[in-house]
Symmetry: C2
Amino acid sequence: MPNAALQQPAGDNPHVTLITPSSPMATPTHGGRAKCLQRLVRLDLPVPRTVALSFDTVHEIAGGALPDIANVIAQFDEGALLCVRPSSEDPDWGGPGAILNIGMNDARYVDLSERIGREFAAVLYLRFVQAYAVHVARLDPDTFDEIEDMGPGGLSAALAAYEEEAEEPFPQDPVEQLSAVLTCMARAWEGTTARLLRQAKGAPMDAGLGLVVQEMALGIGAGECGSGVLQLVDPDTGLRQITGRYLSQSQGREALEMDFASLFLTRDPRGPSLEDQAPEAFKALIENAELMRQRLREEMQIEFTIENGALHILDGIRVPRSSRAAVRIAVRLAEDGIISHEEALLRIEPRAISELLHRQIAPGAHRDVIGSGVAASPGAATGKIVFSSAEAQASAARGEHCVLIRRETSPEDIRGMHAAVAVVTERGGITSHAAVIGRGLGLPCVVGAANMKFDLRKRKITTADGRSFAHGEEITVDGTSGQVLAGAALTVEAALDDAFQTLMGWADKARDIAIRANVDTPADAATAQNFKAEGIGLCRTEHMFFEADRLTPMREMIFADGSEDRMAALAVLLPMQRADFTALFSIMEGLPVCIRLFDPPLHEFLPSDRAGLRDLAEALDLPISDVTERVEALGEYNPMLGMRGVRLGITVPEIYDMQARAIFEATLDASRAGAPPVVPEIMLPLVSAKREVEILRTRIDAVASAVKAERGRDFTYRLGVMVETPRACLRADDIAQHAQFLSFGTNDLTQMAYGLSRDDAGRFMSDYVQQEVFLEDPFHILDIEGVGELVAIGAERGRQGRPDVLLSICGEHGGDPDSIAFCRAVGMNHVSCSPFRVPIARLAAAQLAIRETIGSQ
Amino acid sequence: MPNAALQQPAGDNPHVTLITPSSPMATPTHGGRAKCLQRLVRLDLPVPRTVALSFDTVHEIAGGALPDIANVIAQFDEGALLCVRPSSEDPDWGGPGAILNIGMNDARYVDLSERIGREFAAVLYLRFVQAYAVHVARLDPDTFDEIEDMGPGGLSAALAAYEEEAEEPFPQDPVEQLSAVLTCMARAWEGTTARLLRQAKGAPMDAGLGLVVQEMALGIGAGECGSGVLQLVDPDTGLRQITGRYLSQSQGREALEMDFASLFLTRDPRGPSLEDQAPEAFKALIENAELMRQRLREEMQIEFTIENGALHILDGIRVPRSSRAAVRIAVRLAEDGIISHEEALLRIEPRAISELLHRQIAPGAHRDVIGSGVAASPGAATGKIVFSSAEAQASAARGEHCVLIRRETSPEDIRGMHAAVAVVTERGGITSHAAVIGRGLGLPCVVGAANMKFDLRKRKITTADGRSFAHGEEITVDGTSGQVLAGAALTVEAALDDAFQTLMGWADKARDIAIRANVDTPADAATAQNFKAEGIGLCRTEHMFFEADRLTPMREMIFADGSEDRMAALAVLLPMQRADFTALFSIMEGLPVCIRLFDPPLHEFLPSDRAGLRDLAEALDLPISDVTERVEALGEYNPMLGMRGVRLGITVPEIYDMQARAIFEATLDASRAGAPPVVPEIMLPLVSAKREVEILRTRIDAVASAVKAERGRDFTYRLGVMVETPRACLRADDIAQHAQFLSFGTNDLTQMAYGLSRDDAGRFMSDYVQQEVFLEDPFHILDIEGVGELVAIGAERGRQGRPDVLLSICGEHGGDPDSIAFCRAVGMNHVSCSPFRVPIARLAAAQLAIRETIGSQ
């Protein structure tokens, strides 16, 4: 490669030499390892001399054009052994393995035998021959792996085997050796298999590879020699603790691979340690590690070698870490003044902290996977299989943990889900009922687990490989990975530790958009409070009517002849609803609580099977034929687009009247002297025209006046609209005339913008995402360019209609970082999401505000 | 009323004197009758002297402030008798009846007895006393109706009865008489009942009344005296024919009321005529009538009186007319050069001509109404009741007309609907399946007839008053009024006569937007051709798969394991589809035919009842449990928002491949040398993302290339998108990259914009429209401000993406005049509607273009 150029680095440090083509295509890059080594050298750490080959250079090598290899070798001390390691942009993308001890040949073997003894020299030479034979010359690995004698005898055998297999003697010229090693590593990177593998990990098509040629510090030889790995923190907990291993007479990462033989680093009752064995090298190592933490502003994993008692730092990479450790590390670095609070916040991937909020399968625990589906709600739990909500409740009553298995869940299963520790369904996608409720409850949930056979009649599930799991058998659900496991897998606790709380506190200071929670029950409300939601952004009221003592009056109400009968049935429900709301208001202690009035079609509350119809006929004292006919008459072709929401409010106004009364009475009941006053927000669902709001506002205002007069006490409340039809977005200026707030329901809005039912989308969504028809499932990631435009139009027009209107979103997207960015951009006041997504949203919002500040500086 | 002013008209005619308040509130108006009389006077017709009181004046009279009545009377000849008639803006709004012979008193009785004889004078006086007593003095009508002697004896009795009842003698002062008459008529107009009645006919809240005081020409007296009504056309047919009646010794409209005694006008073999009896007066009458037609530019109904042989024209009103007569009259006026073609077009209400396209219940025919519902598809037909499609087909096979009665219809009923002469359903609204298909087929249809009980098991319907109609009994369906009648009602033929065709020809010259038809079958296509549609704007293909010989391969396709089996099943369907398209292309003779690829969810093709499942299992040779399970698995929560349209095209691509091949092969089969080439348009339904179009365009292009290669012949086609999701509107610029045309499906767009299923909306739509939540049913009248904005956005962005993109709408709204106005405004190339709405659309489009030209002049 005649046009290769050798550059000295800009600083005064001669240790890292950069090699790039003389006319590079772009700014030359040498990869992460090269960059780190440069930084270590600048810190004056004992890093062996290094030459770094840029991406372009390596690409040219793969094409057959080598730089001046003799010149590369000339950068090192005469007779030094070399190693070559990959240096890609991201170490996770893989790459060829390091090749050590390049330069060993018969002559150096003689030299080294004199310096460090023949046995050690033979090990070094033999290892190089083995690696070269297998990886560079591509000879039969078995031949070389068979050699067990690691001394001079083995070496002779290896050299002979090489000559026999390769039909030429083992190359003696270091230039030839290094050339071959570099070519082989460069070409391995560009092979199709390697490219596909790294693309699967997120690497771009044209990801490059740099190579680092480094002088070996010999971990094998006379005096204290060896190699090891060190980090100052525990990678699982993030707690400050020196961890790592050291192995005398070893090279590379052997200390980790052979930990039965390796030493602890600090003094340890369990065995000998480096601190005992080489106290000075240990002291230097710790000092260097502390320096690296300070100056690289990160917890680093250090690869080091001790050669005859002297410490060499070969490399440093960012400590791999669990999510919980990531939080603690970032917080500690900030508390130690090494990074700012803002930087600590930016270092945590918001989605990763969802792991912290739930019990998880322990890292490395054995997994006996019996089925899998969509990872619909994170966390892990173990329980006995049950196939119905009734069984789940019975099981909970006995104090036994149970996993609820259903073909799919419906609102009737809510109590069963409350009673279960996890849920698995055969059908449904990321926004199916089970998934949404599961996330709301923080219940591990796997949906669409269609690779198991669900036999609900025989009360068993059968796996693809024919194993059966019957009612009562124990399984573990991992909602984080979407797996279902046999038996009880080892789990670890949720990690809401002090570091987590500290980080969240910083997030709350940084962010500029409020975060509320979608809360349906007092238990949810407690979770929301625990996660410091700033109020309830969406309280759905319909589940309240599914409880056993309420279903009968509810059905009486549905079957009532005329307004009077209906009101009589609703009068039974009133005190229960009032108690529901009083509980929520009390828990939320004056934070805003936004209650969506009754939304679902009435037929959801009616049975469809023969037995249920018979029970209903009995309860209502009606002939079964009557009941059947009326249940059928209430059926709908497209319930999502039918008689629900505000349409019920207009045509069966008694329901909303009752709910408004319950809310207002609860407002007074929960308001206590000295405490902040309760200000309820009442939200109308499925609005498509201004007049709907106008009519219902009049009724609700009348109820408020009546309650005030009866109780002789005053209160205030806000009335708003859930904007979830495209028409409501377009007419938001009109609608805002009668609404103090507009909350965008992005689930329904997505359904209507696409003409796509989330309950039915599962059947083709995976096809669609695979074929990139949709880049993402729009129920999972907000479709900014379609649904988002509707929201933006609605927000803008809403403000036109009422400049002080409060804007928010309350769909499932509320907790998604990209969606929060969108909501900030269109000027929303808050987002509302599942309680378990509140911390994620708090962090994501903080990062957005920080990035905007940085961007504008 | 001191401030009343007497104005002489601007011209030189002293016959009509206008009275208004001296400071009128607005430009004074005197109503239609006064206006017409002024025009007649200007034509020098023998109109008796007239004083017209303006709306304001009459309003003041009702409030008690009368103008100077003596002065009014002074406008007339000394001793003249007067009449007062109402003169509102629109005669259809009703008003108080005319009061004749005002001014009769004892003194004039003596005078008149001398002039015309005592008997005649007594009749005039008696009639006035009767009218005054009942309508002005509000005495008991029975007392005065009892008087049978119309001579002097009766008069004495009446005067005595008046004095007894009113406790005062009959008023003798003409000023007092006229004041009382005017006050009474003015107050009658302002009464609540009268106001509500006229508002029901479309009058505004503040509609005013003028009163016309006219000198009486006495139809009773010596010499040839009498009164009559004449018009030059037949009001039912519009054909030129002198019609009307004359009655000697009569007043007002008695000639019509007592037609047993009245004369024909022209010579008539059936009896004596005015032409015989008073040839000179008759000649003058006809001359006057012809003059009125020429100069008032309208066919007028003339009220006339002959007094002692001399003709007086009392009044003229526009001839009331049937829709068919309206067309003929307008066309004749234009052909006679009296009005322009444009004015003839503007005089016909587009919606009214839908009557002409269908057989109708004869005007005035007896109606034994047994039930009613939504008038879903116009026209009338009589047939025997059947309760299933199979019975309908059997009935048609026997050559018997039948009416199909269903709870609601589904695609499986299509063949039954084809076989029936009319359809009645218990459920559904204006856009239910039955309604849409009914309009498409031109089949009279009443839907949502919930006031009858449908007992499908016992095969009978029961009316609200308990009458039963069983299978086989004859009924008549009036889809124009929404009534169901017992037995066979008298009907009249459709009226596609020469005048209609002439008018439509003028419309086609005037309009500037193309009209196509939505056509599913060859029969539809023939209708579309008959109504001169300029092509097919929407051909739905799914009904083609419901035919008996196709359902089995269709179901085999649905149940196929893998692509190969699926293609094998589709191969059976290919020649059938090809034949379908060949037939359509041949009928349409080179006009564009836009075919929408398969749209509905597959489960619509599967049975849901036990018997159907058993048959299916047999046909497919599968165990019934398998079939049941797979049918259930295909079920959807919201089929409208599910796996249908382009989503099937992407995930089960073999169906669209087959359809594209059938279209292309039919294109070649139907293209004949010398004839215009067939250029099919292929439309993709339910698109929500550009990539859907991109993927399918690639596949369809490949099919086209294959067919061209196999046949060795070339053809062209257009590929476009049915824009029916809100997202497709928003992303129309993207989508147009791959689409040569965009056709807006306003039905689905309305469903999705509102979040409202048209199949389920019936349950509350009437409540909603009654409470004015929605001003109109948006499935009936396009919601311009919501759905319309989406369409406008889509049209604008579509053109941004592809400047030459062809734009159209093809929903049910396509035939609605307001919607056509909208489509012109957003620059669409065509609208497409049911074949039977094509003439309406042609006329409406012409009117819009004409009005725009007038407006811009």
